[in-house]
Symmetry: C2
Subunit: 161 residues, 2 copies
């Protein structure tokens, strides 16, 4: 069994509070007014031979799913990649379970900031603020400050009326 402190320590290194900005999804909904739709994913990627650790984490948190990420095509191209497994929490209901577990915990690295931004965006989405101009701009500004974001690929300007 893993402990809460072990889990915090582990995700400070390996946890990924990811907010992706989807262009595709919002096209499905005519009522969504903005360019990007924020999608929240908490993720932990581990190598195939550490799948058992992801199972322990999933049991500890009580929610989430484990998926296989195949590198078969990389290997075919001669890249020596081992398959990975990813533990993911994506639904609002389950992300609230994670928030309850983490929000008051002692973090010791800059991952704390990512975690706080992530759950702030979650709260804004729950309040449907991503459907308003102010809320959308607030979310875009928060996402721009995520540490784990690849800033090179991200230049979104605020929307004005």
């Amino acid at each position: 069994m893993i402990s809460k402190d072990w889990f915090i320590g582990f995700i400070e290194g390996e946890g990924n509070f990811n907010i992706s900005l989807s262009k595709a999804l919002m096209k499905k909904s005519k009522s969504y007014l903005f360019e990007f739709y924020p999608i929240l994913q908490f993720r932990i990627f581990l190598r195939e031979d550490d799948k058992e650790a992801l199972e322990k984490i999933k049991n500890f948190v009580g929610v989430g799913k484990i998926y296989k990420k195949s590198y078969k095509y990389s290997r075919k191209k001669g890249v020596n990649s081992q398959d990975q497994y990813v533990y993911m929490i994506t639904s609002i209901k389950n992300l609230l379970v994670l928030k309850e577990l983490l929000i008051s915990s002692n973090f010791h690295t800059k991952k704390k900031k990512d975690m706080e931004i992530f759950f702030k965006v979650l709260d804004l989405k729950i309040e449907k603020k991503h459907l308003t101009l102010d809320g959308y701009n607030e979310i875009m500004a928060l996402v721009a400050n995520l540490n784990s974001l690849n800033r090179e690929n991200f230049r979104v300007k605020p929307v004005t009326e």
Copy 2:
């Protein structure tokens, strides 16, 4: 303050039980008979803005040093790298302090195997087994099984008399 469980969780992600095989060092000593000299280094690399977490870790373990790893030259070449800090434990005396802390702890990933190999090699060095043919070959076999080793760069064959 960090806890022991947090520390274990964190090093399962970020800790590096490194055994480097030096060619240079053994040239200094005429009494050393073999091609590679095993050097043990426990390391945690973090970005510059997480130096504080390394200070907490150093205080918790009670030994080790923190060094700056500059990427100034990478940046001059246009690579967008932030400087890093590395927490290191290298002396036998201090590695024994780390061993005492970790060897009976609950690990949950394959890092456990790296940790066990690392301290097995430490014990062999303390017993001066690296100076004998059997001990040297045992160390080389152990090092070949380190997960964190870049196997692509490592093809050492056992020595025969």
